[in-house]
C-alpha cells in the first residue's frame, strides 16, 4: 500500500508539470483558435533567459539567492512579454481569419525561430537554474504505513508552485474584467468585438500569460534537469495531455496532466515488468490515441457540432 501511494504521489507531481505546459496550449487555443506548436520552444526560451540572467546577476555580485531569482524571473518575464508582442504584431495580426492549418504552420515556424534565437542569444550549453530547491527526499506517514512514504521534496515544491499558478490564473480569469474579456473572446470572437473588446490587445495578453506559464514550467523543469535543448521537446509530452483533457478546457489541462502523470508511473511500475519496461515513454500517447477513438473532443472539451 505504501509503495502504491508513493508511486501515485510521484505520478501526480510529475503530472502537475505536464499540466503547466498543457495549460499554455489551452490558453492560446481558447483565445485565438491557434494550436500553438511553439509552446515548447517558449518553455526553452524562457528557461534559457532566466538561467542566463540569474547567472549574470550572480556574477555581478548579488549574493541573495531569493533576490537573484526574483529579479531574473522578472527579467525573463519581460523577455516573454516582448516575444508575445512581437508574435502578435508580426505574425498573428497578418494572419487574422486564416485557416487553422495556416496558423499551425506559422507557429511551427515560430518554434524553430525561437529555438534558434534562444540559442544564439543565450548560448547552447547546459545551464542550471538554482532556485534553492531541497534535493533530498523525506519520509512521511511513517506511523500510518510500514516503512512510510518517500516523498521527493523538490517535486512537492514544484507541484505547489504549479498549483499556486493555476489558482492565480483562475482568480485572474474569474475576478477581473480583463479575465472576463478573455473568456468572452474564447467563446465568440465576433460577439466580443461587437461589445468593444479589442481582439489584438487580448491576443497580446493571452500570449503574455502563456509566456509566463512557459517560464514557470521552464524554471521548474530547468531546476530539476538543467536547462538544455531537450526542454523544447517537453511540449511533445504535453500533447497527449491536451488530447485527453480537451483543447478548450483549463481544468481539462490540469486533470489531463495528472491522469497522464499517474498513468505513466503506475503503468511503468505495475505493467512494466511484463512487457520489458520502457512503458513510460509511450504510455501517454497510446492513452491519447484510445481517447481519440472514444471521445475525440477530450474529457472536458466542447463537442463540435456542425450544422449541416
Amino acid at each position: 500500500m505504501g509503495f502504491f501511494l508513493e508511486t501515485l504521489l510521484g505520478g501526480l507531481m510529475a503530472g502537475m508539470l505536464y499540466s503547466l505546459v498543457a495549460l499554455g496550449f489551452v490558453l492560446i487555443f481558447k483565445a485565438s483558435g491557434v494550436f500553438n506548436f511553439a509552446q515548447g520552444a517558449m518553455v526553452l526560451f524562457a528557461a534559457l533567459a532566466m538561467a542566463r540572467f540569474s547567472e549574470w546577476l550572480n556574477a555581478s555580485g548579488l549574493g541573495n539567492l531569493w533576490l537573484v531569482n526574483l529579479i531574473a524571473f522578472a527579467m525573463a518575464a519581460g523577455v516573454m512579454f516582448c516575444v508575445a508582442w512581437v508574435i502578435e504584431r508580426l505574425v498573428l495580426r497578418q494572419l487574422v481569419n486564416q485557416e487553422g492549418t495556416t496558423l499551425l504552420m506559422a507557429t511551427l515556424g515560430i518554434t524553430y525561430f525561437l529555438e534558434g534565437l534562444g540559442q544564439s542569444l543565450f548560448g547552447s550549453d547546459i545551464y542550471k537554474i538554482d532556485i534553492g530547491m531541497p534535493k533530498e527526499p523525506v519520509m512521511a506517514f511513517e506511523s500510518t504505513f510500514p516503512g512510510g512514504i518517500l516523498i521527493n521534496q523538490e517535486d512537492l515544491i514544484a507541484a505547489l508552485i504549479a498549483a499556486c499558478l493555476v489558482a492565480l490564473l483562475s482568480l485572474f480569469f474569474q475576478k477581473t474584467s480583463t479575465g472576463r474579456a478573455l473568456r468572452a473572446v474564447a467563446d465568440d470572437h465576433q460577439a466580443a468585438q461587437s461589445i468593444g473588446i479589442p481582439l489584438n490587445r487580448i491576443w497580446v495578453i493571452v500570449w503574455c500569460v502563456a509566456g509566463v506559464v512557459a517560464l514557470v514550467a521552464g524554471m521548474i523543469w530547468g531546476s530539476k534537469l538543467g536547462v538544455q535543448f531537450s526542454l523544447a521537446t517537453v511540449a511533445l509530452r504535453a500533447l497527449p495531455v491536451v488530447i485527453l483533457g480537451g483543447l478548450t478546457s483549463v481544468p481539462g489541462a490540469i486533470i489531463g496532466g495528472l491522469i497522464i502523470g499517474v498513468g505513466e508511473k503506475l503503468s511503468e511500475v505495475y505493467l512494466g515488468p511484463y512487457v520489458g519496461g520502457g512503458i513510460e515513454i509511450w504510455f501517454a500517447y497510446v492513452l491519447a490515441l484510445l481517447f481519440l477513438l472514444v471521445r475525440p473532443q477530450g474529457l472536458f472539451g466542447e463537442k463540435i457540432i456542425d450544422r449541416v
Binding site: 474584467s177 474579456a181 468585438q193 461589445i195
Partner: protein
C-alpha cells in the same frame, strides 16, 4: 407616441459590397434619425445582414461611406464602433456560452471599466466600488428584461427566447446610442415575439435609444417601426413609413411575386 424624433444620427451613402462575383449590396443609401425605430426588411438573401455588418464594421464595403454623428467613415472598425456607442445583437445567437447570464451582460460593461487589474483581482477599494457600480447597472438591465431568475444560469442552458433576451441585455449594457438588432424575433413563437417587441419599444421609449432592426416578418415590423427600408437582391426598392412601404407596388411584388 410622445417621443421626439431628432436629426440624422447615422447616414449610409451609396454602399456597395460584393463577395467575389456576388453583389450583396449595390448602391444603398438611407438615413437613421435619432430616437426612431428604423427597420430594414426584405426577403431572404436581400442583403439585410450584410448591411448591418457594414455599419458594424464586420464587413468592409467596396464603395460608399457611413456618417455617424457627423463623422464620415469609408469603413467602420468593429472596436471603434462599440466605443462610439453602437451595440448590436446577432441573428444566430453569439452569446458566451460558458458564462452565466450575469457575466455575459457584465462583459458589455468592459469598455467602461477603468480600474487596475491587480486591484480588481483582490477586490480592493476603488476597484470594488467600480465593480459594484457596474453590477448595479447590470442588475437594472436584468430587471428590465425580466430575467432575474436566471442570473447565475449558464446561458447555454436557457431556452432560445431567453437567450435572445440575454443577447439584447449584453448590447444594452454598453448603454448604446444606436442599437442594431439582427432579426431579434427570428425563430420565436407569438408570445416570445410580443415580449421582444415590448422590450424594443421600451428601450426606445425609456432610454431614447435609436434602434435599427432587421426582420423578414413584415407584420411585426410594420407595427413597431417609424420608418422602413426595403431591400431585395441587394438593391433598395422602398423607403418610407410603414403605410407607404405597404402600398409600394415594387415591395408587394418582391414579397408576393408578380403575376406572369
Amino acid at each position: 407616441m410622445s417621443k421626439q424624433i431628432g436629426d440624422v444620427i447615422l447616414n449610409v451613402q451609396n454602399i456597395s459590397l460584393s463577395f467575389g462575383g456576388v453583389k450583396a449590396l449595390s448602391d444603398i443609401s438611407f438615413d437613421v434619425r435619432e430616437h426612431e425605430i428604423r427597420a430594414i426588411i426584405g426577403p431572404n438573401g436581400a442583403g439585410k445582414s450584410s448591411m448591418l455588418n457594414c455599419i458594424n464594421g464586420v464587413y468592409t464595403p467596396q464603395q460608399g461611406s457611413i456618417t455617424f454623428r457627423g463623422q464620415t467613415f469609408s469603413h467602420m472598425d468593429s472596436h471603434q464602433v462599440a466605443v462610439m456607442g453602437v451595440a448590436r445583437t446577432f441573428q444566430n445567437l453569439a452569446l458566451f456560452k460558458g458564462m452565466s447570464v450575469l457575466d455575459n451582460i457584465m462583459t458589455g460593461r468592459n469598455l467602461r471599466m477603468k480600474s487596475n487589474l491587480l486591484l480588481q483581482a483582490i477586490r480592493f477599494g476603488p476597484a470594488q466600488r467600480e465593480e459594484f457600480e457596474h453590477r448595479r447597472k447590470v442588475e437594472e438591465i436584468i430587471d428590465f428584461l425580466e430575467i432575474q431568475a436566471y442570473r447565475k444560469t449558464p446561458v447555454g442552458q436557457l431556452p432560445y427566447g431567453l437567450q435572445k433576451r440575454v443577447d439584447l441585455g449584453r448590447a444594452l449594457a454598453l448603454e448604446p446610442q444606436v442599437l442594431l438588432l439582427d432579426e431579434p424575433m427570428a425563430g420565436m413563437n407569438v408570445e416570445e415575439k410580443q415580449d421582444m417587441c415590448r422590450f424594443i419599444l421600451d428601450v426606445n421609449d425609456e432610454f431614447g435609444t435609436t434602434v435599427v432592426l432587421i426582420e423578414h416578418d413584415m407584420g411585426v415590423v410594420m407595427d413597431i417601426s417609424d420608418r422602413v427600408v426595403v431591400l431585395d437582391y441587394g438593391k433598395k426598392i422602398g423607403d418610407g413609413t410603414p403605410d407607404e412601404v405597404r402600398n409600394n407596388p415594387e415591395v408587394i411584388s418582391a414579397y408576393l411575386g408578380t403575376g406572369h
